[in-house]
Amino acid sequence: MKKMTAMLAAVALTAAACGSDAGSGGAKTLTVFAAASLTESFGALEKKFEAAHAGVDVKIGYDGSSKLAQQINEGAKADVFASADQPNMEKVVKAGRADGQPKVFATNKLTIAVPPGNPKGVKTFADLAKPGVKVVVCAPQVPCGSAEKKVEKATGVAVKAVSEEQDVKAVKAKVQSGDADAGLVYVSDVVSAGGKIDKVDFPEASNAINDYPIAVVKDAPQPDLARQFLDLVFGADGKQELGKVGFGTAS
């Protein structure tokens, strides 16, 4: 038994050693968990950060904010968490996994995504309630869905969706494939689709502006690099890259 315990301990130690300086040789890894909608802008920021910090490898995991929050709370080794909404950041703060107060770095608002050429001629939010228009939205449990519900409340328009998707990328995919006539997505999603879908902006979208908070994760393996990454996001480069894909940035 003693032998066994010793062996287990040895295995654990090796594993821990491997974990702490993966990719050894003085190289450091900064791990960022970011909402899926940040894929394009944070991808550009990753390159800028690596160019400015020799020997630092930035790894970004993109996923739905709720899944990322859950992983962080389950002990995932991340340095930075950028959420697409406040409630999911709140979960991380409540679990004591955020280092300091999260700060909002960007805002996003809904727009109507339509296939190129807008075959059903959707012009306003109210058009989404017309019969014969196949609309796809996010489920109310996810940020894009709760934003959509807010707009419905503010306008009194009841959208009868043919499907409630689990994330905004799935909504986008169904509009892009042409199987939905319209879908509610974020402005940034249409910009990053690069012409494969068109957007129809509507003024009522201002009823549901989404805040994107960011925070350093508690006990981050690389707290200093994490803070420098936040500086980059809030700096001129960050504003430029976020603005490029349609995010609003805090002035």
Partner: protein, 258 residues
């Protein structure tokens, strides 16, 4: 049996059982009844049972002839077909769903024809759920039947033929009875696979309560907001699966010839 086999066998069993035990330790059983009897859970459960039953029927109606053809046909190229049938096992379900969407969606070549000729649109309907489940579940049925047929060999069928039985009679009176034991396990396997189907369904059929949101999709949906509720629903899915396997487990699943 050499006793050493117990060691890997125990590891294998632990791999299956321990995660479920993990699920149990994290679930709040006092809230279980309330969580699983909400109207959305019950609708998802009902939809799951209905669609999985329908797709199992589709698997049998289409899969049995396919297995017989694969096992008995001497046409060249059957070996390639055998590999093709396994594709849904290898494809990630989401890719399978995309493939179905690109075939039967509005812009897919078959979907376009269906829409133009009959005014039928498949995506976002319960029919799409059944098609997605049949797509992923069928290989389980075909593989178990084909294996059984090839294992049994074709001497009984040949004898029946030489005694003057026409092909249809041979199929009915000899081939099908030979298949029955394997059919039991094939049906259970494909029903179980259909019940747990997630990726192809959400990609091809979407997710809407009462229409296309089956129990696995409801679990995923709940996991976004309320993980306790998702765990409770996942347990419900496990209970349903275990009950189905236990009730339907014919002697055939244990390899006993009827």
């Amino acid at each position: 049996m050499p006793w050493v086999l117990w060691i890997p066998a125990a590891v294998a069993l632990a791999l299956v059982v321990l995660p479920v035990a993990g699920l149990l330790t994290r679930s709040d059983l006092s809230r279980f009844p309330e969580l699983v009897t909400s109207s959305s859970s019950l609708r998802a459960l009902r939809l799951s049972l209905e669609t999985a039953a329908l797709s199992t029927v589709a698997c049998v109606v289409l899969g049995v002839p396919l297995a017989v053809v694969l096992a008995r046909s001497r046409v060249r190229g059957t070996r390639v077909l055998r590999a093709v049938v396994l594709l849904p096992l290898v494809l990630p379900p989401v890719v399978g769903g995309l493939a179905l969407l690109y075939l039967l969606g509005r812009k897919g070549f078959l979907g376009y024809v269906l829409d133009a000729v009959m005014g039928v649109q498949v995506p976002f309907t319960t029919a799409a759920v059944v098609i997605a489940q049949t797509f992923v579940a069928m290989p389980f049925l075909v593989v178990s039947l084909e294996g059984a047929l090839r294992g049994a060999g074709d001497r009984y069928e040949r004898v029946a033929s030489t005694l003057g039985a026409p092909p249809w009679t041979v199929f009915r009176r000899v081939t099908v009875p030979l298949l029955l034991p394997a059919l039991g396990s094939g049906v259970v396997l494909s029903f179980a696979r259909a019940l747990g189907e997630f990726g192809a369904t959400i990609t091809f059929a979407g997710s809407l309560e009462g229409e296309t949101r089956t129990l696995p999709l409801e679990v995923y949906n709940q996991a976004e907001a309320d993980i306790d509720s998702a765990v409770a629903l996942a347990l419900l899915l496990i209970v349903v699966a275990v009950v189905v396997i236990a009730v339907a487990r014919p002697r055939s699943l244990e390899g006993v010839r009827a």
